[in-house]
Symmetry: C2
Subunit: 352 residues, 2 copies
């Protein structure tokens, strides 16, 4: 893949951001699953789609839905999912309060000078969220696991005109979030460089300060505190992002999406036929145990999903590997390739 | 095992509760590991001990320690640990506040009429905690995983006389907690009845209301909310327990400890030689995935341990199975033995 084959933009600035974001994630789901399938050699193993709809907590009206695309049991890919969700509904006052502390741009319904009526502030609001989230666990211990997620969130004016009225007017606030990162069991420096360089190129088109910031943010976010290790060798991560005009943010998300396949497929192509030893497979299982630890103990998206009544557990836990292992007091030998990987997780490296 | 072989009490009421508790857990660690080893058929596979010491957060002075005993790679037992810890130190004001909301009996340093000096209340206090905690994952899918934990906690007068002065005077408050529970992959009703009946007998000696209360508490505590399932088929669980005089509580803990081997060894004896199919082994891996989900997402002890600087991660995560599996959209066939197990996890049964 070279820049000549970068897909044409699917964005249409004449449409609202949320409509363009939905079109973007639908297109990227199709493109990424097709790209990954091109590396799967086992006859008949393809991504399969499950459509799902979300019911709102009170059971009234529809809350949107999504499309999970899952591949399982391949020769190249042990398990992988590329999910999109487009959901909307009412934010409870409690959710609103918790969001306000996280999102600096959040504005309340109050106009300046309207006084301190806190009850007014706590009326329910409408939200809209659309995102694509992907986790890919390859079979071969020399092929890295990867994760990608880009999402758009907006919060609108107070609800209350009617149950079926799901459309938002102009959002009161909005933000983008997401990123992509790599989790190898064995470190190939050229792979780390490729993955980081492709994502740096994407972000540099918008602001040269973004890659260094988002790279650091990624190392900080995907951190397994109780192990003193990052989950993998990082990539990029950002949240609450509204520093550019929304249309520009959308372009950035599209560009980041487009960085993924050229940063990952060449690695799979190169590593998928390496003959792995039993020891290497066992080490991969141990590293997958770490992946499970991060996702269940720290990942905000997973925790939020598990706590949200009515969320689709299969889609949330699709991120977990088929198999993971925990051995008591296991640690790699000094000077081994396994230890080399652990060391870059203990002390992140600049790859691009 | 019959009641004739119930071990003699190791308690000595002339000594402080914490000294007796330490003696109790040391004796029970030896007894339980020996009992379990009697079921292990693989040559040379025994429990191995690791002694560890805990450094206090500020690095000054000693915070106690423990002894982890671990068995791994047997024919009967895939992985199991029986750990004791006896730790003491200073409670930060933040920990104190969070404990106060959980423990009704907590009293502050203030004497009645001393006024509302909140700063005074928030001076550091000494704590002492001693407990035994065990998780056993057998190899055979027809042998249930089991977990047991009994612990004693006390909080004493303000610290400040000197760094090495670890002894508490009379505790201002204290409590016991713990329980034992069973997590089968396949349901054998007679096993469930045995396990519950033995624990009911132990508690009935103290108060006939305890077993029904602690059985329900167990079902409620070991609940995987996002799955709508209990972790296993329950047992007993209690916390913040100070309803009896401390010496009586200690006797109850001893009696509960003594209920364990007679409630578990006969099951292992009976099931360990069943020839399991590949499908049964796969189902066991899926159920172990649920075990990991509970321990990493919900278990208070695990979460607290992972958040505590300086805690021994290997001892905390020893509870995790060697292998666990997550399959996308996996659910047992209608009418199968696998479904039968899921049903009792969705709707707990009265076994004794």
């Amino acid at each position: 893949m070279s820049s000549e084959t970068t897909p044409k933009s699917v964005l249409d600035p004449s449409k609202p951001i949320r409509v363009q974001m939905e079109a973007l994630i639908r297109a990227k789901q199709a493109e990424i699953t097709a790209g990954l399938e091109s590396q799967e050699t086992k006859e008949g193993v393809k991504f399969h789609a499950d459509e799902w709809t979300r019911d709102t907590a009170n059971g009234k009206g529809k809350g949107g839905g999504g499309r999970s695309m899952v591949i399982q049991g391949g020769e190249t890919f042990e398990k992988g999912g590329v999910n999109i969700s487009i959901v909307h509904g009412e934010l409870t006052p409690a959710a609103l309060i918790s969001m306000k502390s996280n999102h600096k741009s959040f504005r309340t319904n109050k106009k300046s000078g309207e006084g301190d009526n806190d009850n007014d502030e706590l009326l329910p609001k409408r939200f809209f969220a659309a995102g694509l989230s992907m986790v890919i666990h390859p079979v071969n211990p020399h092929c890295p696991t990867t994760h990608l997620n880009y999402r758009y969130f907006e919060v609108g004016r107070r609800a209350g005109k009617g149950e079926d009225e799901d459309e938002l007017e102009e959002p009161e606030c909005w933000w983008f979030g997401g990123g992509a990162d790599l989790t190898p069991s064995y470190l190939y420096e050229e792979d780390a460089k490729l993955f980081h360089t492709e994502h740096k190129k994407a972000l540099d088109e918008f602001d040269p300060s973004y890659y260094p910031r988002f790279k650091k943010w990624c190392d900080e976010y995907f951190y397994i505190a109780h192990r003193g290790e990052t989950r993998g060798i990082g990539g990029i991560f950002f949240d609450d992002f509204d520093e550019l005009p929304a249309q520009k943010c959308l372009e950035m998300a599209e560009r980041c999406f487009d960085a993924f396949l050229p940063s990952y497929l060449p690695i799979i192509e190169k590593r998928k036929s390496i003959v792995a030893t039993e020891e290497e497979k066992q080490w991969q299982l141990v590293r997958r145990g770490r992946y499970v630890e991060f996702n269940l103990v720290y990942d905000r998206g997973t925790k939020f999903g598990l706590q949200t009544p009515g969320s689709r557990i299969e889609s949330i836990l699709m991120s977990l590997p088929v198999n993971a292992s925990w051995l008591y007091n296991h640690s790699p030998e000094a000077g081994s390739r396994e230890e080399k990987l652990v060391k870059v997780c203990q002390k992140p490296v600049e790859w691009a």
